[in-house]
Each structure stands twice: as structure tokens, then as C-alpha cells.
Symmetry: C2
Subunit: 614 residues, 2 copies
């Protein structure tokens, strides 16, 4: 037996007990004839005391950092207690020890505040994982998964495994493919999600399904994307949108409770996609703080039912506003006394390439009721007041105004709002605010080619299995998807079809999304056709699903949560990589394994493929 | 809302309640002016009664099998109760209904005893999954997984996800590989198991790890193998073999209890690999019954410490025995009165190509104390008695003797034993007997090439990470693996090295296997070298693991259970396919999806590979 206790469990009440511990050497401190060694394992750190009689043995077998040590001795009350660790009142008076394994000097320190850079830590991930900062992330991840499983179990969901070697049906994202040796010339694909399988399970009558499952997308990797990622994937039959929203806000609340001890008793807010983008500049607003966007000049190609406030800025001969497609503002609370240096700094911030604005207009709503602006020569104080009032600015606030091209400006005001929220401490790490965003458009119109499917066509905003709102099904069935003039696609009825889809947003991050699905063969065919798939392609790619819809498919819908991101947010981090045991870098490489890598000639031979390098 | 209750929950105490049910039409029975409809969902079946006033509506909208129906009405006490189903005392007097979806006539009946053949059921798997017989298998699978997770959670294990896109290091089985678009010319592999990752997690200090995880092997498929399969994968640090055996027989007992309600309180038997093969002809004996093998003439290349009973058969001038490498016998209880027809039938059975024997010798131990044999002219009654006694035959038993080539004959007697056990009802479906098989040889010697690694070399019986028994480590380190004369490999010290490995056997099936691992870099290098890997290949394939062993690797070991098989055995089935939602056929095809399949030219182009069909 290697140990009687872990390095985290001994207390004063264990005094005089004979124990054996095993773990890693954290520190070695010599004090004359005695030596203190801190020994560490997953559960904690315990101080070992090597007395004079053992010191000779220690000198012959010196301990180094990260050596694996087994020590037997008696639990002793410490003279010099350490109140910062749970075992701080005791130490082990060692009677015998054994070095189970030696360690070379690690390339970085195994501490929360390590001296290792990202690359080094990834290469030696097995050492990085020893750090408490990483360990608590993986423990949190386990706790989140466990909480999700418990909730779903109690709600009658079944965890049903779906296959990983499936059929390649690229839609939007690229598939990873796997050559089949037994079927030469043919390939499996790795699933981008179990979407069609969970729908088949609904057709099969398994009316509450879930899975915590790996999914794969061969996309160019942005900072915080991984080629393999994990979803909490769920589907229910005989449900309407309301049933799904209730069930899965329950899931997240249950995770809050189990993992963070948070009682999230308030109702989860709901917001239409249109209101979200209108008021916050994006469809996943952080509602921990207000600072809503004032649309002075509205993005013209998006909103169908919204009135902007162009009258507040028009007619002043200010070309920047007059020529901009879009002008938007936010009122930043309590910042009217920002210095020139400070407003310049924000201006530089919005001019960074990631934001891409040409400049920034501000209005200071001074505490004394006066107004001061960077565009004083175009706007009277009265007009400045009108703008500031429309932006809900109070005395002491600072109104920031951006102007420019539609899409870029909308994104920029959203980023600026988040940035100012962060600077003002309004985005508290320990505050969690959930939000449902609803009523997404069913289609987007691709004016330019996005993925080789051609330009000037409808693409599914969510995915091709999402149902239109019940009221909009007729609009979809009775109209041809054909768009005669791509420039005027907004006039096509399809532009107004809303989806029966929903995203769950947590603190400004989309943590989950789903929809009520199409379950009628005719409507599904109509959807595929709208996306430019002819009957033959439909049959080749999704014949099994269309077939299944012929044999009594029930109404159904579901949702998938991004497990990596959910864990990261709950852990107060922006990076999902810190919450994955063995992540890949931005080139999709595992630098520890050195994968991907070349394979043997025999493997090519058996798979009957060869390289075709450009 | 589509339903207020499921089709399985209404009882007499719900009488007069107004309810809405949704589900599938199982049967429609007309009785004059009224119609009975059985409606089915995951939870059960409920009888609906359509009275006279609704019958007209029913005639206009006739219901067919598998239609999706929503019905509202009042719970009624049945006049004609059905005691066979939980809802059999009630029916719903329908007041209104709605057909949610129609169904074509299914290609086979949705019943336990379906009329659909295997191929048809696989093609329409989404309908096959509706059958109760399949549903209860998937529910059992979920229950087994849940029980495993609960036990492991309570024992402090963490579920940690390991990557699916890893490095190709084929050892034994072939890897499935995945071309990397971002790293042209390079490939990922899908994991055959998370072996090296779980060992790295031990190095990282996560001393109790588990995962229920998909694994992949590109092997030619036998009847009951799948290219993707699921393991309960576990690893522990600071443990010896005894710790592992105790922990994981606890796991299986806990599953027995939670899933089957079985209190498995007896100690799990243990048996050395040598005793298992010696007494049962294979290393995964079904110990629900005795019928041990008598080794009359022992397989000469396997056993180091066993004495056979050649004296019992030698010197009788019976060439079949004299010329055979191996002669083995079993005593089948109570079968001495088998007719000529019956012994002929068994003889034919062992002559089938799957068994491959040339014939069968029998000795009837008659109730009256006489002996009758098919080799009477070679052996006196006295000699027959001696053989029968050695086989532990009692009066009334039938001794069956096989002779032939070593390996084939050993397998044949094992198969014959199982077959006779089955015929005699000794392999009871509801009896579960666990067994640990221990002390496997660490190496096998490949006289012929097995996997392209060359002939005349040592191969790892388990895998290259398995530790020798502590007592045998010195034997391994101090001897060169070189075998001068392949024919005499048994004389090489490596042939006697036993592994610190263990298999768990349930009712004659290996359900799990594992080992204490090597955790010292030098020993691991020695092992790789013994398997024919030079330093460069070691570094290329397993450099990360050897590196990890330099930084304080703790002693560790683990086990992996075949989840699909475990579920099948607990469900009383021989086929794992019945316990997988979407299995593949023997060519590795998913006939429902029609996968694998051709991929698009654009995909080849992006991946920079092309076909090289022979």
C-alpha cells in the first residue's frame, strides 16, 4: 500500500496517528540538522519533518522538486502553524521514506504563478496540469458535467451514444474525414454535431435524449476555437419552444446551484433577436449592465420594425454623420470628467484594426448642466442635449458616438459598450445573468459566396433543420425561394420569416442554442430546396432523415450547450483552452504529442490514398 | 402543450381526470360504432376509446399504424381490464384528437417479435429502435453507465476528457487516420484507447481518472466487433494490483446492484492465466459450471509448471492419440446414456470448420459401473476407468476426448465444454459469475509475422505499457531480448516473465482488462526495445511519454471495461450490436446513412490528398 491518507486530509484530530503519504516534493527547506519537506498531491499539501536521525539518509538521497516521495511517520502538532492551508496545524514526523521516482528539474515552476510561457506549458502539458490553477479548472469541468447529468437524469433524459464515423454532408463548416480501408475510395466524416441522430432518436420515440459529446469542425481556428470541442447535446419530443426554454433554464440554474452554490431564482430574461441587436449592437448582449445603444441612424438592411433618430443629427452639415451608413451612441455613466488624454485613448482604442473605426465623437454631459462635445461647431448645446437625452445620459455621463459602415459600426459600438462596461467594473466576474434571445431570422441572404455554395442565395442562419415560427410556415410554403434581384432581397417574403430558434446567453457569451425542428417531410424538402439543394442532393445527403419523416415523426426540438465555454465562464476565464485537459494550438496542433504527423507508407497503401501536395 | 401525461402513467386513481396524451398508434380496432386505439410512447401503452360521436371524424381522418396522434379526453375505468400492462385498468374516453403526423406503412412490424430481417431493420434503424426489445437494451445501457458513474464519483474519480484527434502510433491494431487540412501531408489518428493520456494524467497527479469513451480500431470486423466501440476507461495512481482488483470488482458489483438488483456478496474468484488455460482451455473461463479439462497430453509450448497425464493413454498403439500434439478430455455430467445418434451429432459438431477437429473419442461411464468407449479395442476397461477417473467422471457421465494440433485442440475443448454446458442448461442467463484472471505472460513470441513488424520477435501480450511482476523486473533488465534460435524461444528468460496484468471475466466473457504500468523511463525504454523499437522510433512515437516519465511519474495502473459487451451480457444477449443505437455492419458500413461514401472533389483539394485505388 502506497498511502494511508492523502496529502490533504490530516488534521489536528489525527495527532499521534501513524500514517503513510505519497506525493510530489513541492519544497525542501533545511534548518540546520532538520529538514522540512512539503509533499503535494491532488488533495493538498502536507509538511513533512525529517529529524536529525534521517538527515544523513536524506543527504545520501537528496530530494529535488517534483520527486515522487513516500513517507511514513506520526502526525505531530506544528509549533509554527500555517492558517492558510487546511493541513496547516500538523506535520508528519517522518520515520522512514522511499523515493518512488526522481524528477529532472521541471522547465517551469509548478505554481499558480508559473514562470512558464504558453508554448512551454503546452509542450509539457502533463506538468502544467499539476498546477493548482489548471487543476481547479478541470475539477470545475467535472462538477459541471456531473451537475448536468444529475439534472437531466432527474428529468427523465437518457444518455444515448451516437456514432462518430458518419457520413460527410458538409453544410457551412468543413467536415473532418476518415478514409475507409474496408471501403476503398470512400470516407467517413466525424460529426460536427449529433444533430440528425438526435432527431432520429425523437422519431424512434426516445423523447428525452442527451449526450455530453465531442464534436469536430475543420475550420480555420480563431483564438478561442478548437477543432474538437464538447457539447451538452439535448433533444425532446412533443414539446413547444416554451417547454424547451423552461427545461433548459432549469438545467443552467441547477448547474449554478450545484457548482457555484448560487440560487438563481429570478426569471430568465427574454429578448427578441431584433431588440438585442438594436439595443446592444449584437445578438448576445451582456445584460449585467445597461448602457443601451441609441440608433441615431439605423443599419438599413436589418431592422424591419424599428424607427431610428436621424432627426437628431441631420441637417448640421457634419459630413461624418451625413455620409455614414450608421450612427450609434452609448451613454457611459459618470465619465463626463474624462480628460483629453482619456478621450484620446478611447479614440485610439476604436481606431485599432480589430475595431476599425475612423474616429469617435463624444458629448460630455457636465454635472453643472452644460454640454461639451468634440463636434461643438456643428451642434448647438440644445441639439447636444437632445442627443444625450435620447441616449439616456444623465448629468455626469459621457456620450460616445460612432459613425461608419453599417455592419462594422454596429459591431464597434457593441465592443465599445463591453469595453467601457469592463473599465467601469460593471462586468463582475461573480455575477451571472442569463438571457434567452429569441425570434431569429430563419434565413440569411448570402450576397457573396460564403462556402462555395454560390452567391446570391439563402443560407440557414441556424441550420437547415430549424422550423419557421408556426405563423410563418405558410409564408415559406406558398412562396418560391427565388430572388430576382439580389440587391432587393429584403423585399422577398423569406427575409421576414422568423425561426423557432433560441440562444441562451450568459454574461455576453452564447452558451447554448437550439430550435424547434422541422418534422414534416414536405417542409424539410422545401427548406433544403430554399438552400439550393436539388432533389438528388437532398436524397444523397439526407435521404435517411427524409425517410424517417415518412414514418411518424413527432414534433420535437432541442438545444446544444458549448460545454468548454460554459465551464470557462463559470470559472471566470475568457479562454476555453484552460478548461480542456489536452487542447490544441491555433494551428490545430497538439505540440505535446507533435500531432498531426506524417504516417507510414503502409498506411497510405492500405487506405489506397496518396498525398497531392500543392 | 402536447401532453399532460405519458402513455405509461395513468392508473385507476386518475379516474375522471381530463388528460392529453401524445404518441404513436400501435393498433386500431373497430367495434361497430366505437373504435379502440392503443397509443404508445417510450413509457407505455394506453387504450383510447373513440365513441360514436367521434367516429365520423375518424372515418374522415383514418388512423394508420405509427401515425403520431394527440388525444384529449377523460380517464375511464375499463370494463374489460388488461392485467398484462400497468395502464390496463383504464382507458381514455376521447373528446378530441389531432393527427400530428402521418406514417407510411412501416417495412416491418414494431413489435418484440418483428417480421423484419437484419438488413431491413438496420436500414430503418429509426423504426427498429421503436421496438420494445431494442428500447430496453438502450435503457439498460444508460442504467449501466449511470451506475458506473455514480460508483466512480463516490470513489473520488474525475471524468476527464482526452482528445480524439491524436497521433498515429500503430501498435498491433490499425489506426483510423484523419488528414489535416491545416497541416498538409500530416494526419491525426483516432484513439484506439486513451491509454497514454490516462497515464499522463497520473503523471499530472489526477490520481483517480475515468471516462466512458469511444475508441476506434480499423480491424477486419468479426461478427461481434465494431470499428467504434465504447470503454469504461479508468486509471489510478499510488496503487498496487490488489488496490485495483478491489476497486473494480466493487464497480461491477455496484452495477449488478443498481441495474439488476443483484447482491453479489461473494468474493470474486481469482485464477492464474496458466490455471485458466490448463483447466478450461482458455483464459476467460465460464466458471458457472465445472467440467474442467483433463490434459492427457499437454500443449507443449505453453505451460512451464504443469504435469500432464500422458501415461493414461500412451502405449496402447492408438495412433490418433500417439501422433497428436495434444490430447484433452472433459467429463460431461449425466450423459452416459447418449444414443449413437447423439454422440454422432457431437462428433459432427466438433468436425465443423469453426472447431476443426478430425473426430471425437468418448467414454461412457455407465451407471452400472461398466465403461463403454469408441476406442474399446485399444483401451481395456481398466484403462478407460483410469482416464475417466482422472477426468473426474462419475457414474452416468460421458467423457469426451479431443486430439490434434496443440492450439486448435485447446480451443476446441474449450468450445466443446461451453457447448455442452449450454446444452445441459449450466450457463444460466440470470446467473452471474465474476473471475479475475491474473499473471499473464508479459510477452508472446511471434514466430510468424503478425502485423508487418517482422517474424521471430517478442510482442506485448497486453500492451507495451504493462509492467512486469515486481519480481521479474530484474529478469527483464538484466537480459537481452535477443533470441538466437526462434524455435527455442521458450528457453529465453523473457518467456517466463509474468505481467502485472489482470482480466475480469464474466460468464466466460472478458469484460475488462488492465495492468499496473511501467512508470520508469529506463524500464519503458527496455520494453520498447524488446518489442523491436529503436531509440529514434521510440522518440518519434512515444517521446512525450518517455519525457513525462522524467518528471516524477508515480506508480500507477488501470483497467478498461468493454462497455458494449458488459451491457450485452447484463442484457442476456450475445450480440453487442443490439446494445448500440446506431451500429455498423460487418463491412463497417452504416446502411441507414449509407456511410462511408464518396466525398467531393473540393474536399480532396483542400486536404491535398487523392485516391490511389488498386
Amino acid at each position: 500500500m502506497y498511502r494511508t491518507h492523502t496529502c490533504g486530509e490530516l488534521r489536528l484530530e489525527n495527532k499521534d496517528t501513524s500514517v503513510t503519504l505519497s506525493g510530489w516534493v513541492q519544497t525542501v527547506r533545511k534548518f540546520g540538522a532538520i529538514t522540512f519537506v512539503d509533499i503535494r498531491d491532488r488533495y493538498g499539501i502536507t509538511q513533512l519533518l525529517f529529524g536529525e536521525e534521517l538527515n544523513k539518509e536524506l543527504e545520501e538521497n537528496p530530494l529535488g522538486r517534483e520527486f515522487v516521495l513516500q513517507a511514513t511517520g506520526t502526525v505531530n502538532e506544528r509549533s509554527n502553524k500555517n492558517p492558510n492551508i487546511p493541513t496547516g496545524e500538523i506535520e508528519i514526523l517522518v520515520s522512514s521514506f522511499s523515493i518512488l521516482n526522481k524528477s529532472a528539474v521541471p522547465p517551469f515552476t509548478i505554481q499558480d504563478d508559473t514562470d512558464g510561457g504558453d508554448d512551454l506549458r503546452m509542450k509539457y502539458r502533463y506538468l502544467d496540469l499539476r498546477r493548482n490553477a489548471v487543476k481547479k479548472n478541470l475539477e470545475l469541468r467535472y462538477a459541471v458535467g456531473r451537475a448536468a447529468r444529475n439534472y437531466l437524469h432527474n428529468q427523465g433524459f437518457l444518455d444515448i451514444e451516437t456514432p462518430f464515423l458518419i457520413k460527410s454532408t458538409p453544410e457551412g463548416a468543413r467536415d473532418f474525414v476518415v478514409p475507409s480501408r474496408m471501403n476503398p475510395g470512400q470516407f467517413y466524416a466525424l460529426p460536427q454535431s449529433p444533430q440528425t441522430f438526435k432527431q432520429l432518436l425523437m422519431v424512434s420515440g426516445y423523447d428525452r435524449y442527451y449526450q455530453i459529446v465531442k464534436c469536430f469542425r475543420d475550420e480555420d481556428l480563431r483564438a478561442d476555437r478548437q477543432p474538437e470541442f464538447t457539447q451538452i447535446d439535448c433533444e425532446m419530443a412533443f414539446v413547444q419552444q416554451e417547454d424547451i426554454l423552461n427545461m433548459f433554464e432549469g438545467l443552467i440554474k441547477s448547474i449554478f446551484k450545484d457548482v457555484k452554490g448560487i440560487d438563481y431564482n429570478e426569471a430568465v430574461q427574454r429578448m427578441s433577436w431584433e431588440d438585442a441587436t438594436w439595443n446592444y449592437g449584437n445578438d448576445k448582449p451582456d445584460i449585467r449592465f445597461e448602457m443601451k445603444v441609441l440608433n441615431l441612424k439605423k443599419p438599413s438592411t436589418v431592422y424591419t420594425n424599428k424607427q431610428d433618430n436621424a432627426g437628431l443629427i441631420n441637417g448640421a452639415d457634419f459630413k461624418v454623420f451625413d455620409e455614414a451608413e450608421t450612427v450609434v451612441a452609448i451613454a457611459v455613466p459618470g465619465c463626463s470628467e474624462y480628460s483629453r488624454k482619456q478621450t484620446d485613448e478611447i479614440t485610439e482604442w476604436v481606431k485599432r484594426p480589430q475595431i476599425g473605426m475612423k474616429g469617435l465623437v463624444f458629448i460630455k454631459v457636465n454635472a453643472d448642466g452644460t454640454y461639451k462635445s468634440s463636434v461643438d461647431k456643428f451642434y448647438s448645446e440644445e441639439r447636444l442635449k437632445a442627443i444625450a437625452d435620447a441616449a439616456n445620459a444623465k448629468a455626469g455621463d459621457l456620450v460616445l458616438i460612432l459613425a461608419g459602415a453599417e455592419e462594422r459600426t454596429r459591431k464597434a459600438i457593441s465592443e465599445l459598450r463591453l469595453e467601457m462596461g469592463k473599465r467601469l467594473g460593471l462586468r463582475k466576474e461573480d455575477e451571472f445573468k442569463l438571457l434567452w434571445v429569441l425570434d431569429f431570422p430563419l434565413f440569411e441572404f448570402a450576397l457573396e459566396d460564403q462556402d462555395g455554395g454560390g452567391a446570391g442565395r439563402w443560407v440557414a442562419r441556424h441550420h437547415p433543420f430549424t422550423s419557421p415560427k408556426p405563423d410563418h410556415i405558410e409564408m415559406m410554403i406558398s412562396n418560391s425561394p427565388k430572388v430576382d434581384d439580389p440587391e432587393k432581397y429584403l423585399e422577398h417574403p423569406y427575409a421576414n420569416i422568423k425561426a423557432n430558434a433560441y440562444d441562451m446567453v450568459l454574461n455576453g457569451n452564447e452558451i447554448g442554442g437550439g430550435s424547434i425542428r422541422i418534422f414534416q417531410r414536405e417542409l424539410q424538402e422545401k427548406m433544403f430546396a430554399a438552400l439550393g439543394m436539388d432533389a438528388e442532393e437532398q436524397q444523397h445527403k439526407f435521404g435517411f432523415l427524409l425517410g424517417a419523416f415518412e414514418y411518424g415523426a413527432p414534433p420535437h426540438g432541442g438545444i446544444a450547450f458549448g460545454f468548454d465555454r460554459l465551464c470557462a465562464i463559470l470559472g471566470g476565464s475568457e479562454s476555453i483552452r484552460d478548461f480542456i485537459a489536452f487542447p490544441k494550438n491555433n494551428s490545430g496542433r497538439d505540440v505535446m504529442l507533435d500531432a498531426p504527423s506524417a504516417i507510414a507508407a503502409k498506411q497510405f497503401d492500405e487506405l489506397q490514398i496518396k498525398l497531392d501536395l500543392k
